[in-house]
Symmetry: C2
Subunit: 330 residues, 2 copies
DNA sequence: ATGAAAGCGCTAACAT
DNA sequence: ATGTTAGCGCTTTCAT
């Protein structure tokens, strides 16, 4: 910078002003001369020096609540990062395994003077943070602040459940079964949407066909699965489902196995629809799975727009719609 | 820092010395006094100021060649990050979509004065970087420098192929078929290991049973699959395989579908073994899939140890062994 | 419209 | 063994 100033016989301050603050009063000519020389010399401002002076680095910190564990949720990170990169902002991710690590995570991030700190979760859940912490978090992705203080971006689970059910109903499926994800917000809301759709279409729900996918109060991939026995039970009698809504794609994978075992064809005998769109699974099942895609990309992008100020932060909860991916299972 | 100095009637320099450089000559007592007061005050050095002075920030940059796209490869990142975190180092990931973005990626990273820049790939591949770039990269993960200039950590594919074949051979399978991943280093080396094992055990390879999993010169998830027709062909005649080695877990998923279609039971009629251990898939297949787990965790950890200097950087290529995950398909 | 100078918090050379 | 001082590259008053 001094170099540029000397060559142009200007002061450092003028150069600084020309390069950064375009509101500062200055002759256009001077500004142009400075800028073009800077370009020519390939001048890159020292972000660290600038950061020291201004107290802020071109960095956004992300508290990742298990995000990196759940591989397909990294989609959120990917698109968030892509957007911030266009604004010359770097993302620093700090994984936290449990809520107790939040303080440490924030402290770690703050050492580098980030412009903002965001919180992202691997699955849709309510987050209850102490007030002092809440004030430091600009945005929540794929989860929400129970106090409503922090703008939060979450998938619109209920609409997705509604849409999935409508999709089946419109294709003349009436005997719809539902494998729920116990203990999860996503499960609860998706089921609610399902019930609403059935209700609106005047189709009665066979309560015996609305069952949890796993044993235990909380759905988890490692919990004992109830899919196989439940399917067997459903198809024992004469009256059985002609469609199954699956809590997520992994459940759908088991439903495929179960239906195959009892010799039912998808989609001819039984249609299957699911949630998440975990592509490695959904596109490779046989037949390929029709599923409601989680709006991870949209969440990441919208968050990026908000953080960079290109879009105003909506207050409270913002629900982002799913997108249906039609394959061959319905 | 000045605060501490004043309270102890010491100079700033003494405080700085006491806190950072433990080699500096100083009375132990002074050092202790400084440290305990710092602790008491919850003093945290301003990393940015320090960075400006020393020209280095407590940051490691990672050029992620598609890493975040291939969800399960983020395992590498996760463990790398975990390790660096214990040394108060933050990781900044810059995704690059193609080799042409490397320069830009490095420039972006350097703005923040990272201590090192590492290169990580989503799949095992040779990387040819210009010399000027090579000099700036400290380590390659899951890929290697074709010039041998950069220490590189890669999965030991050949050993994995060898081990998978031995696993089958020891269980009395002799008629082993192999679905290869065309155009990939991983595929080539795994096949080599397979051939070596067969050779050592004196079992002849039926060349007709060594086939590519997809059409085209390069394996890819979206390429037209050859699994189904190939399996049909193999099992048409009387002499057919009693085991299949699959290029990866996604291929295995298709092999399951194919075998099921022609009514062959796994593992009774045909054993299946695979590579990668993409858990969402492998553990949920029916029966759960026995597979050679990619050493992503080990690569991430070892890289962390090297970057933090806890372990010396091995020269050239280091091959990290796979781990077999025995489930029910063999 | 531009220049001079102070100072962000820290480290390192030099002095005592 | 400890203190003094300069300065890292930038932004920001305050003068001119």
């Amino acid at each position: 910078m001094r170099d540029i100033a000397d060559r142009l016989s200007l002061s450092v301050k003028t150069v600084s002003g020309a390069l950064t603050d375009s509101n500062i009063r200055m002759s256009d000519e001077t500004r142009q001369r400075v800028r073009s020389l800077a370009e020519e010399l390939g001048y890159r401002p020292n972000e660290v020096a600038r950061g020291m002076r201004t107290g802020v680095m071109p960095i956004v910190g992300m508290l990742a609540d298990g995000l990196i564990t759940q591989p397909f949720a990294t989609e959120i990170l990917r698109h968030f990062d892509n957007l911030l990169r266009t604004q010359e902002l770097a993302v620093i991710v700090t994984s936290i395994k449990d809520r107790g690590e939040v303080d440490k995570g924030i402290a770690d991030l703050r050492r580098l003077l980030p412009q903002h700190i965001v919180y992202a979760s691997m699955y849709h859940q309510p987050i209850d943070l102490p007030r002092a912490v809440r004030k430091q978090i600009a945005l929540m992705m794929n989860c929400f602040d129970v106090h409503g203080d922090i703008p939060s971006l979450v998938p619109d689970e209920e609409a997705a459940g509604y849409q999935a059910a409508c999709f089946l109903l419109q294709r003349e499926r009436r005997d719809i079964a539902y494998f729920n994800l116990p203990g999860l917000i996503a499960g609860e809301l998706r089921e609610k949407g399902f019930r609403k759709a059935m209700d609106e279409h005047g189709v009665a729900i066979e309560e015996n066909w609305v069952r949890p996918a796993t044993r235990g109060a909380l759905y988890s991939g490692s919990a004992r699965s109830l899919v196989r026995p439940t399917i067997s039970a459903w198809f024992e009698g004469g009256h059985h489902p002609d469609a199954v809504i699956c809590g997520n794609d992994r459940v759908a994978m088991e439903v495929y196995n179960g239906l195959r075992e009892i010799g039912r064809a998808i989609p001819d005998d039984v249609a299957v629809i699911s949630f998440d769109n975990q592509v490695d699974i959904a596109s490779r099942l046989d037949p390929p799975l029709t599923t409601m895609a989680l709006p991870h990309r949209e969440i990441g992008r919208l968050a990026g727009d908000i953080i960079t100020g290109r879009r105003a932060a909506p207050e409270g909860l913002t629900r982002i719609p799913f997108r249906i991916v039609e394959r061959k299972s319905v």
